[in-house]
Chain length 308, copies 2
């Protein structure tokens, strides 16, 4: 799956993953109205509005991007109905041949983590039969509990030819609270990064490991260090755009071959029509606005990469 | 809610939370058979079997325990149908006036974490209306991303009079990989613990904070240190029984008043009928076996506490 993602990045020339993190505020009125008319002003109505919104974004961008990353929190806030919309979004994106990164950030003890790994990337046995739960292609994983909370995911990844991205240095302001603590002259995120690189040797694709790392766009000096520390580790880079990360800062997250990283943008793409720059698209043109935002981001990233 | 939990612990004299972490292997054949007959050998069938299993355990124990802790991973492995069973289990436990700790271990950046907080403990706005998503009383939270991944939960807890347990030192074997790293003579888990205690001052109940800590039963020396370091922090203690934690080791997790901690047991209670000690109950008596296992655990814990 890491090979497929890299192939798709090369084909689209876009190291971009669109974060499908819909807030109800992002959803145009006409979509909400129609969903509420059919399902009421209910969790079901809200979940349906979000699913329709996502479908519009996917239809408008699937030919120019390699991957999408739905953030499950945005769906869990609508309870069971939201989780249904999460599932539908994944299935639809896969129908369009997009790589799906489930941003679930799960982390638990071995037997429990195995259940998460099976539920999100693998198959569950029921009697004599096997079923996929959510069937994402990649999942994000939290390292706080150590290796036995990682290995069940690696096992399922090997079986299913799928991958994970482990949190190393996150893009948020407080990420330094613990990740930047110094252990014998090294930052905690460096120690985590070294471990991730080592664990990744267990499950290599052609050029990069199936075990990737999350390295936030908002700390570019960290991206540079981590790129050198983890040459075979693919980076999922959140924090571009709305969170403050800029294209020129991201150059060092990529390897010399221009590969090795995929940059996420959520709000900056899916809610582009709300930005002044894309306001001419209007609410009705929200999906076209998101396509234009992808094209602009692609241009910016490629300009920065080729200028280095 | 922390006050309610403490009251219920006093009333039942049982600082025990039953971990509703059902594996299909734990579910007696007659329950599976009947569920598969109605819903097929499908995810729906499996989820229904698990829900029926949980209902039996709750019916058999709700009058002698203060709380249950469903582990959402065990439900997510059955996809959307599993998540429905998770929701039903929560609602049913609350009908029986049990405190529900959602073991979800969520952790993400501020805006995303807010969606989790709202989805699990708070209310989501849809148009003019407000709805609960999953409506647990407490949730477990992962600290790796720092304070801005904690504060959205504290905000919702204040509004809803609910609480959280933040992972400090977990019960699994590899918990030391990162949690035991030394930062200026202190273990990382101590630094996290100190922060948790400090954050907890923001939202105090009568004797303990609404912001609790997860401290595993499998490292008793750690429990002792953390109890002294965090006098106002309530501990959720996993790892008793099947994972290796013993009653006499847990004495120091409690405060001098015998309060301050609630001990989780999952397999040792819900799958008690599979243990030799309780085999006379048979599959048909799985729920009664779980009641007996609770009573035995209560006796052991109270004996150890009063003997110190």
């Amino acid at each position: 799956m890491i090979n497929k993602m890299i192939d798709k990045i090369k084909k689209t020339e876009a190291p971009i993953v669109v974060g499908l993190d819909p807030m109800l505020d992002y959803v145009p009125e006409h979509i909400k109205k129609s969903a509420y008319k059919e399902f009421g002003e209910t969790m079901e109505g809200a979940a349906n509005a979000i699913w329709q919104f996502n479908k519009g974004i996917i239809d408008s961008t699937y030919d120019i991007i390699p991957a999408v990353k739905p953030q499950i929190a945005m769906y869990e806030q609508f309870g069971v109905e939201g989780v249904k919309a999460y599932y539908k979004t994944i299935q639809y994106a896969k129908e369009k041949d997009l790589v799906v990164i489930g941003d679930v950030k799960r982390g638990d003890i071995a037997s429990t983590q195995e259940a998460y790994a099976i539920g999100h990337l693998g198959k569950t046995q029921v009697g004599e039969k096997f079923y996929y739960g959510f069937d994402e292609d990649f999942a994000t994983v939290n390292p706080y509990m150590g290796y036995d909370s990682i290995s069940p995911f690696i096992d399922v990844c090997k079986k299913e030819n799928k991958g994970i991205f482990i949190l190393v240095k996150t893009s948020n302001k407080s990420s330094g609270d613990f990740q930047d603590l110094k252990v014998n002259e090294k930052y905690l995120y460096e120690i985590v990064g070294e471990k991730v690189a080592k664990w990744g040797e267990e499950h290599m694709g052609s050029d990069y490991s199936y075990v990737g790392a999350v390295v936030g766009a908002t700390y570019p000096e960290v991206g540079k260090v981590m790129r050198e520390l983890m040459p075979k580790t693919f980076f999922l880079v959140p924090g571009y755009g709305a969170q403050g990360g800029k294209a020129e800062d991201l150059v060092n997250y990529f390897s010399k071959d221009g590969q090795g990283a995929i940059v996420n943008s959520s709000r900056g793409i899916i809610a582009a029509y709300k930005m002044e720059k894309y306001s001419s698209f209007g609410e009705a043109g929200y999906a076209e606005a998101s396509r234009q935002a992808v094209l602009d981001m692609k241009l910016e990233l490629n300009k920065a990469i080729s200028a280095r």
